[in-house]
Symmetry: C2
Subunit: 308 residues, 2 copies
């Protein structure tokens, strides 16, 4: 069991979907990732919140065993984001973004976490991701997530950090934009050529495609009939993937394939409630049950061995 | 080996994609379906063409063993369709549609084909699909495809024919529109409630989801880096699915799962060239090779039996 150093954002989100609304709930890439990954392995979180951040959220994270030594609490207001999902739940409008204390965030990695074997750089400015890499010593696995904003305004820094990580996760639109090609396999290959060993392209309800040195692996979306709120699904997915890898202490292609299904399962639970509600109560036995269902619903050849 | 009765459209297509242009090439739902299905089982095609329809296209269909007894050749021009695909290859603009002789098409099923065990009603007006069902005797499996146009202008007839078939195939947008719900699993369940045993939802590059009485099966898209022209992929997919079922003479859930992968494989070849070009030369060994690759790229648990 390897512990994970996580650096990302914590926010207070106001979410609207066709199925409801939630105000000032715990959000941010680090929150979703940490709650997911902590189901599998110890997580140390480096992030920043303001003095308005509710104790209840701190307690929730701590109750999941997440190490908050690196959580900076500074005067001012916590990062806030507000978004509304449209009917199709795949497109959303950002209604409001207030960086607040996040505007001056400089990640400081606690001494004990500088030896971390696994580092996950959640979606923050690539300059901050680079600052993290300056502070850690010889991690065995570094993964990052990013977003269209950084492709637009911080391309050079993003190129630099991508060249220094092992695993890149992006959603389909981001990968297309970053690689300047519509085809996702071609986009992944273009990113691989910059140095990473593995590219994980998240396709929301359509699952994910992974391209690595050992080949391609495709995972369909887990079919759900009760999606409430897609917020954070990609971060929870990444938490499940990286958490599973940490729990196995093995980064081989076959373990990665299982990890991607774990990520898909955790992501599928996440979208069935608002915000982090479902993640907060999720258990490993629930994950294992859905993992088994997932295997069954994607298995081409039944176990009776009849050939095609 | 069971033979398939197919009723659908034949057209002359003019296609533009970011990768090229093809003028007056063989098109129509029946052409793609027949070329795909004939790789697996005998196909009898009922359709209509005008007196301008090139002999070369007739020869191509006949060279694949497709029975054209039911092909009506009437005075006038063949159905023509012209479309342009955008950069993302998922959305297209119809530039021109000329129904021509297709406007007065009334399917007449040759006597020998009225006993067909499998009937595929490709995408034509649901009233014509109903006329086919009036002419056949006790088929074991009836499947249909449809499109948004008929949901808009012939909803009652579409409801009636859907209630009388075993398998419904639609693409994701059509299923959402028909069932008036965005969620695909809920849409499929709504269609199942009308009578069919199986609903196959085609998601283009994202694969397909099948919902039946025995559960749900999800197939990811086959990752390709060289998509040339998506035209007819859905019809070729259906041809692979129904063709495989006919070749096995078995409509069980486990055979259906394999059939869906065969359909996905045939569809994936189809989009790698313009029009029916690739389908016209495709062989069963090529299909078997890619089927094996497809299994590998979706198999969660490697064959070494290590548990999760």
């Amino acid at each position: 069991m390897t512990s994970i150093l996580l650096v990302g954002s914590i926010g207070l989100d106001t979410l609207e979907t066709p199925f409801g609304r939630a105000e000032d709930v715990l959000g941010g890439s680090a929150s979703y990732f940490a709650l997911a990954a902590s189901l599998y392995a110890p997580v140390s979180m480096v992030a920043v919140v303001g003095d308005d951040f509710p104790d209840a959220h701190v307690n929730l994270l701590e109750s999941h065993g997440i190490d908050l030594t690196g959580l900076q609490r500074v005067p001012g207001k916590t990062f806030r984001w507000s978004g509304r999902y449209r009917y199709d739940m795949n497109s959303r409008d950002t209604l409001d973004t207030q960086l607040n204390v996040f505007a001056d965030f400089r990640p400081e990695i606690p001494e004990a976490d500088r030896e971390s074997e696994i580092v996950f750089l959640a979606n923050i400015h690539p300059q901050l991701q680079l600052q993290v890499l300056e502070q850690v010593r010889q991690p065995r696995l570094v993964a990052l997530d990013s977003m269209n904003l950084w492709i637009d305004i911080a391309r050079d820094a993003l190129d630099e950090v991508i060249a220094r990580v092992d695993v890149v996760t992006m959603n389909d639109e981001e990968a297309r934009q970053y690689a300047d090609t519509y085809n996702l396999v071609a986009a992944a290959q273009s990113i691989l050529a910059r140095g990473p060993k593995t590219v994980i392209i998240k396709k929301g309800e359509h699952g994910c495609v992974v391209v690595g040195q050992s080949g391609v692996f495709a995972v369909p979306g887990y079919p759900l009939d009760d999606v409430q709120d897609p917020t954070g699904a990609g971060d929870a997915f990444a938490g499940g993937v990286i958490g599973y890898l940490a729990s196995r202490n093995d980064y081989s292609w076959s373990t990665l394939r299982r990890a991607l299904v774990h990520g898909s399962v955790v992501g599928s639970f996440t979208v069935q409630s608002f915000g982090v509600d479902r993640l907060a109560t999720l258990t490993r036995p629930e994950i294992e049950d859905r993992y088994t269902l997932f295997r069954e619903l994607t298995m081409i050849e039944p176990s009776d061995g009849t050939d095609a």
